[in-house]
């Protein structure tokens, strides 16, 4: 099966380009900062982009169908707050995680119905969900009596997010690996994945081929919200606090990661491998700029420049292909 998963990668000419960019960044940063090329630092980078990778893996499939999910950040924040609120008020942690994930899926269902069934433009539909979910997150925080929930969380609240597998691998990294292979599997081996590409490549042809387009879109939105919600729980548990504003701009990062990874915004092509590489580029960039102590505004300039260069280089590689 591994052989089968590998095959399509070789056909894709954008992925080597991305890998090349990453290699160059690693070499340059190694020379510029003595603290860069260390296991602990790579650990830090993965921790930072772990959330992006998990959510973007799911959002990527939505983008492959030619749709978008802008509500991930709000669902992320909502889930963190909800989990914290329930844990604080006596719900056992494991239950609270379960309930939160279920409710997170409801946001996806809402998105799915709006976009898939009622055919509302995804940008608007998911923006609506964004506002509702974020608003409710703020209301929960307010109902708890503050701007965020930190005081009174049970002692074992952080033990999930800070758990070390085998005593040394942070649990987020384990989930990143699981999510990566899960979505690689969905993409390559399931009809859900295959139909996602079909919907993005030609929605009308997919419908005329008997693909249940509405169902596919709904499943993907639910899956994406589940990932966002689970990450919200994970993040909140890792930091030891839940704030309703943590998800701001997350949707943009997710979008950037997908586009950097070579996914067409109009749908039809893209892969979770690209998402992983795109996220690594973002992670290396932010980490490098911080390690070098670059000031805030200069960082913004750098971020913009690298983003544009990365997408341009990729675009050229695509043009060469056809």
């Amino acid at each position: 099966m591994l052989k089968e998963l590998k095959l399509p990668v070789l056909r894709n000419r954008q992925l080597p380009v991305l890998a090349g960019i990453i290699l160059i960044m690693i070499v340059v940063l190694s020379f510029m900062s003595p603290n860069f090329f260390k296991i602990q630092n790579f650990n830090n980078i993965l921790l930072k982009i772990g959330i992006f990778i998990i959510i973007a893996s799911a959002a990527n499939l939505i983008m492959i169908t030619g749709n978008l999910d802008l509500s991930v950040g709000a669902v992320f924040a909502f889930s963190g707050i909800l989990h914290a609120y329930m844990s604080k008020h006596g719900v056992p942690i494991a239950f609270s995680i379960g309930i939160t994930c279920l409710l997170a899926m409801c946001w996806g269902l809402l998105n799915g119905v709006l976009v898939g069934k009622l055919k509302i433009v995804p940008v608007i539909a998911t923006l609506g969900t964004l506002y509702i979910a974020e608003g409710i997150a703020f209301l929960i925080a307010r109902a708890d009596g503050g701007s965020n929930i930190m005081l009174g969380l049970p002692g074992n609240y952080t033990s999930f997010g800070r758990y070390m597998v085998f005593g040394k691998i942070p649990i987020i990294i384990v989930f990143v690996v699981i999510a990566f292979f899960l979505f690689l599997f969905i993409e390559r081996k399931t009809s859900l994945g295959r139909f996602s590409y079909a919907v993005g490549a030609n929605r009308s042809a997919a419908e005329l081929s008997g693909v249940n387009v509405t169902k596919i879109i709904m499943i993907l939105y639910v899956l994406c919200s589940l990932m966002a919600g689970f990450c919200g729980v994970l993040q909140s548990s890792r930091v030891g606090l839940a704030a309703p504003n943590v998800g701001r701009m997350l949707e943009l990062y997710v979008l950037i990661v997908c586009v950097m990874g070579g996914t067409r915004m109009a749908g039809g092509s893209g892969t979770v491998i690209g998402v992983l590489l795109g996220a690594i580029i973002i992670g290396l960039l932010e980490n490098g700029l911080n390690l070098l102590g670059v000031g805030h505004f200069a960082q913004e300039v750098g971020r913009g420049v690298v983003l544009i260069i990365a997408v341009m280089v990729q675009k050229n590689s695509r043009a060469v292909r056809s």
Binding site: N35, K38, L118, V239, L241, N245
Partner: protein, 354 residues
């Protein structure tokens, strides 16, 4: 299907509205107020501003029989200006604003004065000095914190040179004067050889600060004093330290680093009074700032304070730290400033059991 979704959305809205209304306090609806004041806080997302607004509302109602209209500035220049315009349009008798941008403050002052509405600014001095201003004396308290942190570190580790890292907000110059720079001055007053290793933007957010601190400690593992320019950022720094196996103290004796914050919110004090946590110092003033705002607005409306002259009211920003503040004092501070109803000792114990 469409109908079902519509019904669901409306139900959600109907459910959310009472929660929203209940989230505030019960309104005393039919009360005759003598004055209407306006207030634009920096952002409602910070515990500090929520408490400040609540204090202002209660104090103004009690002392001056005044109603306060609060419009969130959402940490955004356009939103803040729109809020000011909104208050002007509502014809308030006077208004108070707290923002991070000196130029924006000046613009707001001009707008208000053009409409003949008295205005008072807080914390960040406007570019033009033509209106009364409330100034929490953060500089002195920040210096004190820096000096105390340096003393504690020197006492515990005389051999390890002091290396400071800071998390600030992006692009507010006065923060250097009142918080970050003053803190470092305090450190240097104890140890002239102390070095400021790095200062990065923590966006005022716990999560972002945690990530940035992970990078800072990767690049500069020798850092042993970290100052976050608000409590949220200090808590993020603490979370990062904890994940790297640091962030600990040995019953108040520094081990790996000392963390300082600012605002003195309950979330911070719970950590500060935990003898095993390395977050140990903060300072803040909510009640007195809010009261000064109300007093100044009342003074301007009644003519006791000139509307278009600079007049600075200084308010003590009370330092609170593990070594010099008693638990009882801290408990009292929280009650007076943050509407705290719990027991700090109990909360600390609960947090320690983690």
């Amino acid at each position: 299907m469409k109908k079902l979704v519509l019904v669901l959305l409306i139900v959600t809205l109907a459910a959310a509205l009472p929660v929203f209304a209940g989230g505030g306090r019960e309104r005393e609806s039919e009360r005759d107020y003598d004055f209407v004041f306006g207030k634009v806080p920096y952002t409602f997302e910070h515990a500090y501003h929520q408490s400040a607004c609540r204090t202002l509302e209660e104090y103004a109602a009690r002392e001056y029989n005044a109603k306060v209209i609060i419009i969130d500035g959402e940490a955004n220049a356009e939103v803040t200006l729109a809020a000011i315009e909104n208050l002007i349009a509502q014809g308030v008798d006077a208004m108070a604003m707290h923002t991070g941008d000196a130029g924006l403050s000046a613009a707001a002052v001009r707008l208000a004065h053009a409409a003949n509405i008295p205005i008072v600014t807080t914390l960040i001095r406007p570019d033009i000095q033509t209106a009364p201003h409330i100034q929490p004396m953060e500089t002195a308290s920040s210096q004190y914190m820096g000096a105390e942190a340096a003393r504690q570190w020197k006492a515990a580790h005389p051999d390890k040179p002091i290396r400071v890292a800071m998390l600030n907000f992006g692009g507010i110059p006065q923060i250097w004067e009142m918080r970050t720079g003053a803190f470092f001055d305090g450190v240097k007053s104890v140890d002239p050889n102390a070095q400021l290793v790095t200062m990065l933007n923590g966006y005022g957010s716990t999560v972002r600060s945690m990530e940035v601190t992970l990078d800072i400690l990767q690049a500069n593992p020798e850092v042993n004093i970290i100052f976050g320019a608000n409590d949220e950022m200090a808590l993020g720094a603490l979370a990062a330290c904890e994940q790297l196996g640091r962030g600990k103290m040995n019953d108040g004796v520094p081990v790996s680093e000392i963390i300082a914050g600012l605002d003195a919110s309950s979330a911070a004090l719970v950590k500060i009074f935990d003898p095993d946590s390395s977050f140990k110092l903060t300072h803040g003033a909510v009640r007195d700032v809010a009261r000064a705002e109300a007093d100044t607005m009342y003074g301007m409306v009644t003519g006791a304070i000139p509307v278009k002259e600079y007049f600075e009211t200084q308010v003590l920003s009370q330092p609170i730290d593990f070594w010099n503040t008693s638990l009882a004092e801290a408990q009292r501070f929280l009650e007076l400033n943050f509407f705290y109803t719990g027991s700090l000792a109990a909360d600390v114990d609960a947090a320690r059991s983690r």
